[in-house]
């Protein structure tokens, strides 16, 4: 096992990794930007090292700074968290070249799953259903032909993209002609790669993902699924499990097919296979996230398995240590991402000082947050303040706990998105388990809040 891990990330995930290190007896060194000196993880770390200015390109996205920091502090592993360099094969390879272990899939595995298009084809070959779609489109004529074969509407998607950026839905060949060049140039600007592909547009979808863990010896388990259908502009804001979209038999089938395919495809370490589930309960593989996920606590609360510790152990070359039958799930869990998003200004991210913070507690309540009273939320990064996770014996009980916990939560000093969460747990559409990924955007969060407040 490692002696010392460099945590190459910030915010709540840096704190989460630090907690895992503590319980494993591993020293934790937190690499922080000048803007993150006061963050809880940097304050609690065994050692903290400033790696650069607030600008992430010169700190959390700077591979040389991070590796040099790991060498300077005597770390034998680097945990990249999520976002930033967490799925960057070149970074993973550079880390390895300095005799440091990258806590995640090995570089060649990251490389294999780097292209969404190639991954879809790889996993389709291993038996996973995928959304009818094209390969990388060569030119406009090719795009028109492929779209015709798929059937309109279709989605134009950048091959190198992520997080919903740069996607566009078109309903006709004319719209496709009009949008293709724009999408290409946007993709080029955002990801340095103008490759795009087409995918059948499925309306009223749910987003369901399967958590997997595969050790170096090819032994893998799934840890159940999570439903992440509550999204705003393709950003998840609430995740839960089990999914209300599928019956138990379908959930088992989904998870078992996912783990079989990903083990066969040679994946290693923890990862998440994202699926789109249509109105009829059919599921289609979309993409894989080769890292720890923001919403991993949902799985932890249900299974009692520490996902970050599991990830670290696999990276250290240890066998998984448990089999599928050891993974049992109890009850229902919901995670709320508490963001510093301003509901009076279209939920745009805000910054400021946390003046007061009262976090809910009691049975079935977990809080993962790096902020505290007196902490200045910097404007440079994402707006996540913390994650409130509630557990109940069933979905109804979990929602009741969520209502009480959200009511108790007090964050003063800057705007937050608590209002949208409080509205969600009161809304018929959520309570009935009918959320789809585009619902909040279609209705508009303001109208959604108003609709719940005055039914």
């Amino acid at each position: 096992m490692f002696d010392r891990i460099l945590i190459a990330n910030r915010g709540e995930i840096a704190l989460r990794i630090l907690r895992a290190c503590r319980t494993m007896g591993i020293e934790a060194v937190v690499a922080y930007s000048e803007a993150d000196r006061d963050t809880l993880a940097a304050q609690l770390a065994d050692e903290a090292i400033c790696i650069g200015p607030a600008d992430a390109r010169r700190s959390y996205l700077s591979a040389p700074a991070l590796i040099s920091a790991a060498l300077a502090t005597g770390c034998d592993a680097i945990h990249p968290g999520y976002g930033f360099l967490s799925e960057d094969a070149a970074f993973a390879e550079a880390v390895r070249a300095h005799d440091i272990v990258f806590v995640g899939p090995p570089a060649d595995v990251l490389e294999r799953f780097a292209s969404k298009d190639a991954t879809r084809r790889l996993l389709a070959a291993h038996g996973l259903p995928t959304i009818p779609g094209s390969g990388i489109v060569r030119d406009e004529l090719d795009a028109l032909e492929q779209a015709e074969a798929i059937g309109y509407p279709v989605l134009i998607k950048p091959s190198a993209g992520g997080g919903g950026k740069g996607m566009r839905m078109v309903r006709t060949p004319r719209e496709l002609e009009g949008s293709l060049a724009v999408c290409r140039s946007e993709a080029k600007a955002a990801f340095g790669d103008d490759s795009v592909y087409l995918e059948k547009w499925l309306d009223e979808n749910r987003h369901v993902e399967v958590q997997v863990a595969v050790d170096h010896f090819g032994r893998g388990v799934h840890l159940g699924e999570r439903d992440c259908s509550v999204q705003r502009r393709h950003q998840k804001i609430l995740e839960e499990a089990p999914t209300p979209a599928l019956d138990p038999a379908s959930r088992t089938e989904l998870c078992e097919r996912a783990i079989r395919a990903i083990v066969a495809a040679g994946y290693e370490n923890v990862g998440t296979l994202e699926f789109l589930v249509d109105r009829d309960g059919r599921f289609y593989f979309i993409e894989i996230n080769c890292r720890i996920q923001v919403e991993h606590p949902v799985t932890e609360v249900l299974t009692g398995i520490d996902m970050v510790a599991t990830q670290i152990r696999i990276a250290a070359g240890e066998p998984l240590g448990f089999g599928q039958s050891d993974v049992t799930s109890r009850g229902h869990a919901i995670e709320f991402r508490i963001n510093a998003d301003d509901p009076e200004h279209d939920f745009r991210p805000s910054a400021g000082t946390i003046e007061r913070l009262v976090v809910p507690g009691g049975p079935g309540v977990r809080w993962d947050g790096h902020v505290y009273a007196g902490y200045d939320v910097p404007p440079y990064y994402d707006s996540l303040l913390g994650k409130l996770v509630v557990w109940g014996a069933d979905r109804t009980a979990a929602i009741a706990r969520a209502r009480a916990a959200l009511d108790e939560m007090l964050i003063d000093g800057l705007p937050t998105n608590l209002a949208i969460h409080r509205a969600l747990v009161e809304s018929d559409v959520f309570v009935d388990g009918r959320m789809t990924t585009n619902l909040l955007d279609r209705v508009g969060p303001g109208a959604f809040l108003a609709g719940v407040a005055a039914p």
Binding site: I13, Q43, E47, I49, A72, Y372
Partner: protein
């Protein structure tokens, strides 16, 4: 490179003096007072857990803030580290040496690529704050100068543009 407090032997042996950061001018003057208050809360020493740098923690409580410029800062300028890695002082760098703004005082070795440490103003080298080849962090004070001219203000080698960048995706 900030280190955690390590095993505090007694309440007077508070974390304040243990972190290298506390030697820095930019750290808060109320740091030690805060640490003392925390020590009062935990008057019994937190003992060593593993090997001397266990999870004995500093805390948000003790979170440093930049202090206001003091009068003597007007005559003092600090050359800070532009990067992370071992500090290699320049050959001419010694106490009492006269330097001009922009002079190369040494480099920080970023994985074999030297990053220049430059004098932020004309002045005289008063102190070299770290040993040769010692690992330094970004922004760490490396060389203290007494300002030759009368212009005021400190300067650092940092100051790049700060563009928001997203971390979390899901």
């Amino acid at each position: 490179v900030r280190r955690a407090a390590g095993p505090a032997g007694s309440s007077s042996d508070a974390p304040s003096g243990r972190r290298r950061g506390s030697d820095r001018g930019e750290r808060s003057p109320d740091r030690s007072e805060r640490a003392d208050r925390a020590a009062l809360t935990d008057p019994v020493a937190r003992h060593d857990r593993s090997n001397g740098s266990g999870p004995t923690t500093a805390h948000p409580a003790r979170s440093p803030r930049r202090e206001a410029e003091s009068p003597e800062d007007r005559f003092r300028v600090i050359a800070t580290s532009p990067s992370v890695g071992p500090f290699r002082p320049g050959r001419e760098l010694r106490r009492g040496a006269r330097v001009r703004e922009g002079d190369r005082l040494g480099t920080v070795d970023l994985l074999g690529v030297p990053q220049e440490v430059v004098a932020p103003a004309d002045g005289i080298v008063m102190a070299i704050l770290v040993e040769a080849d010692e690992a330094v962090e970004y922004g760490q004070p490396l060389v203290e100068l007494e300002r030759a001219s009368g212009t005021s203000g400190t300067s650092t080698a940092s100051g790049a543009g700060s563009t928001p960048a997203g971390a979390g995706e899901g």
